[in-house]
């Protein structure tokens, strides 16, 4: 088959582009992370050894940001998987207008993250003019300033709204590929909707759910735009995640060394997840030589 076909020139451009894209910044980040290097005082550049890491690991900011990062990832994952699975099971049923409903449900995934965040921040969650405030006030409950008092929860809500459609996008075709006869047989055996879900549909969805969880984790580990336009990481550090902390070190304080050390930590964290994702995805290629 391969006789007479030179595959190298076909592959080389992509491989080279990705290799440069990966190795150059990575090497630079690693290098900078071992330097005292501030863009405001570039003359005072010097070797730092592990100083930047020591500074980060002994300070409070990194741990708060790590905690927020894990909390964000964990909560949004839970929300998107639970709601995503529920919506998927719902949209798998036959009912009038099902296709339209499916379009409406997946719509938030195609929104610009900055736009999504601003709609929620201004029009829904604003403590004075927002719809939520109006509802709670009408019910005599008073209002909550989400971004001042529970900024992390507010961000979790926004991101979950954006990414639940992603879960539906992946899970719905997976569920629809489930053998119709199998479902029919279960129903004839007297299985109700709940039993059908627990014993037939959910087990079938576990693998795609794992894929959703891993891909989402990769994205959520470097969640940025939603925080940038809503809370700016605040109040204080309350909604600062690792990505936002690095951004602040880099483009507010211009501290290249410290931002790079933070970057290395982010890369390590992402790689732990990536390791598992690559293994799962690799199984889909088993028929290759």
């Amino acid at each position: 088959m391969t006789r007479g076909v030179r595959t190298k020139p076909l592959l080389a451009p992509s491989v080279a582009a990705l290799f440069v894209w990966m190795i150059v910044p990575l090497a630079m980040t690693l290098w900078f992370s071992a330097e005292h290097y501030n863009l405001l005082a570039p003359a005072k550049r010097s070797f730092a050894g592990l100083d930047n890491y020591r500074y980060l690991l002994t300070g409070r900011a990194l741990w708060v940001a790590m905690g927020n990062t894990l909390l964000l990832v964990g909560l949004v994952l839970a929300a998107t998987l639970v709601f995503g699975t529920l919506f998927t099971v719902l949209l798998d049923r036959e009912f009038p207008g099902r296709n339209v409903c499916r379009l409406l449900v997946i719509a938030p995934f195609f929104m610009m993250p900055t736009v999504s965040a601003l709609i929620w921040k201004n029009m829904l969650m604003n403590p004075v003019f927002g719809i939520f405030a109006w509802i709670t006030r009408s019910a005599g409950l008073g209002t909550v300033d989400f971004f001042a008092h529970m900024p992390l929860v507010a961000i979790v809500v926004i991101v979950s709204w954006e990414w639940t459609p992603f879960a539906v996008l992946i899970l719905l075709p997976a569920l629809q590929s489930l053998n119709k006869e199998l479902k029919e047989a279960a129903r004839l055996d007297g299985a109700g909707a709940v039993a059908l879900f627990w014993h037939v549909e959910l087990p079938h969805l576990l693998r795609p759910m794992a894929v959703v969880a891993m891909i989402e984790t990769i994205f959520f580990l470097s969640l940025f735009a939603e925080i940038y336009v809503t809370t700016g990481g605040g109040p204080g550090l309350a909604s600062t995640n690792l990505a936002y902390l690095i951004f602040r070190d880099a483009l507010f304080d211009w501290d290249v060394g410290r931002a790079s050390a933070g970057g290395m930590l982010a890369i390590v964290l992402a790689n732990i997840v990536a390791f598992f994702l690559v293994r799962v995805v690799g199984r889909s290629l088993e028929d290759l030589p």
């Binding site: 076909v5 992509s14 949209l91 900055t114 990769i218 470097s222 992402a270 790689n271 030589p289």
Partner: protein
């Protein structure tokens, strides 16, 4: 008969409730775009009002809005084009002439996607500054095309593998060169797949926020950066923000709806078919 009617009512109600609730924020934004700035912040929120087009005309008359829109179009299309030009030969080679290393190359490409952008923010910023690429469309196209490249390769690869290789072999028997085979046989055959791949790439580049927020300021800023600028003053420009946002998301929403079924394989790296 009665049971069927009953058993249908529940899913219908539940399905529509969920769909309308999920879509409500977008619908509300769309509505707000047609309000005056005063009605936009009215309490109780106004559902019935006299619609106005003044926000749209105000937004479109701002020279900078048009500039941002053009930047978004150029960056999304440019990045997609560059990514496709790199990816088509690579995917072709791996789909039809797999070697022992193909699997590793594919997985390695996927793994580059997992490098968190923020981890390389500093070096990219400094490199772009030194090469004069900060706040240029070329700089953004460069970075966007490389960051969608793995997804594009994967998606094309999975589409190409569905093309029967006998067809390609037949054209080779007829004396077609590799380039002719690619251009005149494979590309026309897999056009729907290539189109879906291009759409996904356009969607991802259009909505890309991290690099456009950090690497552009004025000249090359895209609509994501433009809409983000509404967050700064607690200003009461919700109606204009809504009109501008509706314009910014409408084309992408339509693209997403059109290609939803094919997007799945790109988004899941073929792990779910």
């Amino acid at each position: 008969m009665k049971t069927t009617w009953r058993s249908r009512l529940m899913p219908t109600l539940a399905g529509w409730t969920v769909a309308l609730a999920m879509f409500f924020p977008i619908f509300w934004m769309f509505l707000t775009g047609f309000k005056t700035e005063i009605t936009a912040v009215a309490t109780p929120p106004a559902a019935i009002f006299r619609p106005t087009l003044e926000n749209y005309s105000a937004v479109l008359q701002r020279a900078d809005y048009v500039q941002f829109a053009i930047n978004s179009v150029v960056v999304a299309l440019g990045s997609t084009l560059v990514a496709l030009m790199l990816a088509v030969p690579a995917a072709y080679s791996m789909a039809f002439f797999p070697t022992r290393r193909t699997r590793d190359i594919l997985l390695w490409m996927l793994s580059t996607k997992m490098l968190p952008a923020v981890g390389v923010l500093v070096p990219i910023y400094l490199l772009w500054r030194n090469f004069g690429l900060l706040d240029t469309r070329v700089g953004l196209v460069l970075i966007d095309s490389i960051s969608v490249l793995p997804i594009v390769v994967w998606m094309l690869f999975s589409f190409f593998r569905e093309v029967p290789s006998q067809i390609l072999e037949a054209s080779r028997m007829d004396g077609a060169t590799q380039g002719q085979e690619l251009m005149h046989v494979l590309l026309p055959l897999s056009m729907p797949g290539i189109a879906a791949t291009a759409l996904l790439s356009i969607i991802l580049c259009w909505n890309e926020a991290f690099w456009s927020l950090n690497l552009t300021t004025v000249k090359a800023a895209t609509l994501t950066a433009f809409t983000a600028s509404f967050s700064n003053p607690e200003g009461l420009f919700w109606a204009k923000l809504s009109a501008a946002s509706t314009l910014a998301i409408a084309p992408i929403l339509v693209f997403g709806w059109i290609s939803q079924r094919q997007l799945v394989r790109g988004l899941s790296f073929g792990a779910v078919k």
